[in-house]
Amino acid sequence: MTARQDERLLDGPLLPVRCRRCAAEVLVRKASWEQTSIQWNAAARASCVSLGDDPSGTCPALRSAIQEAALTGALRVAG
């Protein structure tokens, strides 16, 4: 099977966002203020301490960091 790319990323790529609590760096894309994609890697996952209890939650500190990046324009919000 050939790995295929989500073409939506062509319209707006994943961009790095660093969490202020643990310094984990993840890749983020926001197609709108309410939409968020977060791509972790092993290093970021290992440094996050907030994901233990609820595996399907989003780290609250990272969520704030993403919101801030979106507000300052460091993270472009498409749409």
Binding site: A3, R4, Q5, D6, E7, S32, I38, N41, T58, A78
Partner: protein
């Protein structure tokens, strides 16, 4: 704003689909309630492109072997359980759960190399699981199916279980993990929140929904009114989904666990299973809980039929064209691919954590309008 160039907008989008891999997913697959296989008879199970025999010996252990006897090719699933072995109907060769020939009653000794394929099995929560691995490795301890809290408790109902053969490749059922919009258009649901998380061998869908007044059957208005539901559904491996599904009624919640599982029969068909248990409560004493479980079970089966009707007519598509309100289909398939490659070839991006939350603003707006139109039309028709 996304700008579409003239060249892009003029080009016809082609649907692409590669040949389906001849390989079957590595992982635990549920064959159904364990009790089904404990009647002292051999059972035929067509799975992973071959015929298997499932039988329980006198020792109570359920075994899964290749269905064909290595002697002259007899069908072991037409044979007889003798002690802890399955006896071939053709010449009475006896095969143990470990895949070894234990005895040939008319021969002084068993030949060398008298060994057939045996699949590791596991019984948990009164369900039978079989481990498939094209590389032939034993199931790793960290690749497990979690124990289901309500499945062995007295204050929950027993499993209501259904099985359906579906004639398409099983990737179609996996795609539903990320497909929010089909829940509105196919299943008469109304999602208001939708998120996915993929990590390791687990893929999760978190969904909240409200009830659809336009989908309620006429005259079905008795009993408490359902307001909506919250669901956290996770595939643990390639085929077994546990959905912790809570229905919210006026004044109380109804807790249930829904299983959506399958095993591949061959590349173009799979056996689709549903299981449900419901928790008793003050509002839902045991008898009412049993009745509710029965009702939910037929509701889920009806949902499967809605999917199957779509699958029967659709085409396989490797390059779905997505809008921003669709879920992460490509990332889900990237996660799913880990089960189809050798363990040594699993790439980090297949298992690294990925989160995707859909903006439901526009879908909710649009669906609300459609619901109201449906209600108005219905009122107009009955007036």
């Amino acid at each position: 704003m996304i700008h579409v160039t003239a060249a892009e907008s003029d080009a016809v989008r082609a649907i692409e689909a590669e040949a389906i891999s001849s390989r079957f997913a590595r992982g635990w697959h549920c064959l159904g309630p364990a009790g089904t296989f404990k009647d002292g008879k051999p059972h035929t199970v067509n799975a992973f492109g071959q015929k298997l025999v499932v039988f329980t010996g006198e020792d109570g252990k359920t075994n899964v072997l290749d269905g064909y006897c290595r002697h002259m090719g007899g069908d072991l699933s037409q044979g007889t359980v003798k002690g802890n072995e399955i006896a071939c109907p053709f010449h009475d060769w006896r095969w143990g759960g470990d895949g070894r020939c234990k005895k040939i009653p008319y021969s002084r000794r068993v030949p060398l190399r008298a060994r057939t394929a045996a699949w590791p099995t596991m019984e948990q929560d009164r369900l039978l699981f079989v481990w498939n691995d094209p590389e032939g490795s034993k199931p790793p301890a960290d690749v497990t199916i979690p124990v289901i809290e309500g499945a062995s408790r007295d204050d929950w109902t027993d499993w209501r279980w259904t099985e359906t053969v579906v004639h398409t490749n099983c990737r179609e059922v996996i795609d539903n993990v990320v497909d929010m919009a089909h829940f509105f258009y196919i299943h008469n649901s109304f999602p208001t929140y939708f998120k996915n998380v993929f990590e390791g061998h687990v893929a999760t869908q978190i969904m909240k929904g409200k009830s659809r007044p336009d989908a309620r059957r006429e005259g079905g208005g008795e009993g408490p009114r359902m307001l909506g539901n919250s669901s956290v559904a996770s595939y643990h491996g390639p085929s077994f989904m546990i959905d912790e599904l809570t229905y919210h009624y006026e004044g109380f919640d109804l807790r249930s666990v829904l299983i959506n599982s399958h095993y591949p029969i061959d590349q173009n068909s799979f056996s689709l299973h549903s299981g449900i248990i419901v928790q008793h409560s003050d509002e839902l004493p045991p008898e009412a809980a049993e009745a509710t479980a029965e009702k939910l079970s037929s509701f889920i089966l009806a949902g499967f039929e809605q999917d199957i009707e779509i699958w029967r007519n659709k085409t396989r598509i490797d390059n779905p064209l997505l809008c921003e309100e669709d879920g992460p289909v490509y990332q889900l398939r990237r996660w799913y691919e880990q089960f189809y490659v050798d363990v040594a070839d699993i790439r980090p991006e297949m298992t690294d954590r990925f989160e995707f939350e859909i903006d439901t603003t526009r879908p909710v707006e649009s669906w609300q309008k459609e619901v109201e139109e449906n209600l108005a039309r219905r009122e107009g028709a009955s007036a």
